[in-house]
Symmetry: C2
Subunit: 149 residues, 2 copies
DNA sequence: ATTAATGCAAACGGTTTGCACTACT
DNA sequence: AGTAGTGCAAACCGTTTGCATTAAT
């Protein structure tokens, strides 16, 4: 798990008969400065900050390609939007506070017990990067106004 | 945790100044025969099976009301769609196999370790009904064709 | 010269909105 | 009569598609 090799990406694309384009450069530019997770539309936004002419379909199609190359992986955030993880950060899930909307990483370490017991008990292999645990963070647990849980 | 009290629902609505309508009857009809989780569009579909004239907005608006009354709770499925849980089934999360698309319940029991350690370590209170763990089920773990994980 | 990739526009699916109308209380 | 709820249609958001055009190889 070393840092993603963005430098060699153009060559790896060409090695597969794929192409290195200005549009892909912009997205890779954004991704290479991204830690952790982002949604597709956030990426689109950030690409547009650099190149306002960026088109959604191009971004999404390029993300597909990058996922095939193993540069990113996608999952689903708590609100259901596509969420891309820039690899290869340590495999982790997410905690999402339904009260304040905050989000935190869930380390493989913390999830280890669950991961093990599901594997042992059911043969189910957890893909931690797709895991989002929703609940209430410590700060929000005492808060009034959302008791209806 | 007894069975949801659908019988008294009309009265409970009226007690709040809300109303009991034929459209709501259809949805409640569907819900009362539903175990576990369904997506909004599945509910819409099932309502239309009974009453083809069912309108989406009515279903979604009624689901909001029912959630306020505590009859259902919503979360997000692995693919990001709204997922409604008919209460008060035992609080549980879901396992979703990314290979075969299968889905299984994750009991509070099985998640207990994680729930405890998050509470202890971070003060984070898990809302299990919002939890979907994605991965690969035992049957799919040996299967070829999706090694790229 | 090939053919991958783009831009555009339109469609998608699930959900939400505004508003005039209906019907429960 | 009052107002919650409905039906309709249109908008929404993020994402995906088809297709003619452009441009990397």
């Amino acid at each position: 798990m070393t840092a993603p090799d963005w430098q060699s990406l153009p060559d790896r694309l060409r090695a597969r008969g794929l192409r290195w384009t200005p549009q892909r450069r912009v997205l890779v530019d954004v991704l290479s400065r991204t830690r952790g997770h982002v949604t597709g539309s956030q990426l689109l936004e950030r690409c547009r900050a650099i190149e306002p002419a960026t088109i959604p379909s191009t971004v999404y199609r390029t993300l597909d390609v990058l996922e095939e190359l193993g540069m990113v992986r996608h999952g689903h955030a708590a609100d259901g939007r596509e969420e891309f993880h820039v690899l290869p950060e340590a495999d982790h899930g997410h905690l999402h506070c339904g009260a304040c909307g905050g989000s935190w990483d869930l380390s493989a370490n913390e999830a280890d017990g669950l991961v093990r017991s599901l594997r042992a008990g059911r043969g189910f292999v957890v893909d931690l990067s797709h895991v989002t645990i929703v609940g209430r963070c410590g700060a929000c647990c005492g808060e009034p106004g959302t008791e209806g849980w």
